[in-house]
Amino acid sequence: MSTNRPVGPTPPPGAAGPVGLAARQAALVAALVAGAPLPAGFATDRVDAARRALLRKRAGEVARHWPLLAAGLGDAWPATFAGWAAGRPTAGSLRDGWDLARALRDRGTLPQLGAEELAAREAAHRYDGRNPPRRRRLPALARSGDAVALQLAGRVRLLRPTRR
């Protein structure tokens, strides 16, 4: 996939909007997932409905990758995810959930189950927030809030599960 062009459309001077299928598709996707303005002519309410449907779908997919994070948030999961993900293009379900868990941790609102899941993931993988996570080769200890996870030879154990 090409990344050597700016996100979203760059309309030629004097044009009403992006021209050509490629530019018009890029403008629509940017409006749906990256907070860019909606190109002229679309029914705003319909595209808004599609945007909300996309966020619900993404929330379901991320919940499959981060079941404890989603379970820990319970009924608040769809809204919590949508609030975080709106205007933020996906980096894939694994990384979306990871980034959200870290954001909640930094805000002090990561539920206990999510903290344990995050600690276990971080003990097993190295993730810099920009590139795909990579499996750690060496033993590692990871902490998220009260949760502490140890990874030895690929096996992860929670040393200090948080109190329930």
Partner: protein, 272 residues
């Protein structure tokens, strides 16, 4: 290599146990991107292959409707997966899923223009060169249309299928959703589609949110969709049917009843 037949179901890991115990099952579909191209197959799917159940890889991320050329690596993956499961055909959507370096995360509609017909046609031909089996194309459910459509849905679809010599994967729930959300008659839309090209048919559930019908795949199949399916199958040999369910999996007896309802509506033998 047997073509799809009867009533099938979308194979998903979450319902692998349920699917494994369907005695009359002759065909399933699997999300192509969920399989490793060199195998091994997930155990549940491998067991179905040993029973000679037909497995159709269903791509969701080729982005055949993208203005840019289809990613050759994605086509190669689909081709390898088709060989891995000894598929009689593969399927994908008339849609795009990424543009300008951003992933949409879902199937997006194309403008129904000659330019879009040309883009899809070019990408389908690129894919066909490498695929070892025929490709069936599925029109999607869309919540919005582009502002400058030149063709209606039926003509747009027919032009693409004619130009690429592809078969039709017809989703009756998508037909229902699109017609209903445009305030049109689903049966009238169905009647104008190139039904002679059907390879097999998708059926899925949905729900209404905010006055629009959403093709969720996580809700029951509505009566209206079953009726449309019945109308499709009336007076002709019923095409193979496939139930798609992608989450909020109901208890086994509910899912079994839904498969039976499909079989009854179409006139196929039950598989449960």
């Amino acid at each position: 290599m047997t073509r799809p037949q009867g009533v099938g179901i979308g194979w998903r890991p979450e319902i692998a146990g349920f699917v494994a115990e369907l005695p009359g099952l002759r065909f399933v579909e699997v999300v192509a991107e969920s399989l490793a191209p060199d195998g091994p197959l997930p155990p549940g799917l491998a067991a179905l292959r040993e029973r000679d159940v037909t497995v159709v890889p269903h791509g969701v991320r080729l982005s055949l409707g993208g203005a840019e050329p289809v990613d050759p690596a994605r086509v190669t993956h689909l081709a390898r997966v088709a060989e891995l499961v000894d598929a009689p055909l593969v399927s994908e959507h008339i849609a795009f899923v990424r543009a300008g370096g951003l992933e949409a995360g879902h199937l997006l509609p194309l403008p129904r223009t000659r330019e879009a017909v040309a883009a899809v046609t070019a990408n389908v031909r690129r894919a066909q060169q490498e695929l070892p089996v025929p490709l069936a194309l599925e029109p999607i459910a869309a919540l919005f249309d582009w502002p400058d459509d030149e063709l209606d849905e039926a003509d747009f679809l027919t032009e693409i299928l004619d130009a690429t010599d592809t078969e039709l994967l017809l989703d009756v729930a998508n037909v229902y959703a699109n017609a209903r959300n445009r305030g049109r008659d689903p049966q009238a839309l169905l009647d104008r589609l190139p039904l002679d090209r059907i390879a097999y048919v998708h059926v899925a559930g949905g729900a209404e949110h905010g006055g629009l019908y959403h093709d969720t795949h996580t809700d029951p199949v509505p009566t209206e969709v079953l009726e449309l399916l019945g109308a499709l199958c009336a007076g002709r040999r019923p095409p193979p049917l496939l139930l798609e369910r992608d989450g909020h999996y109901p208890p086994a007896d509910v899912l079994r009843a839904e498969l039976d309802a499909l079989a009854t509506a179409a006139g196929h033998p039950v598989v449960t």
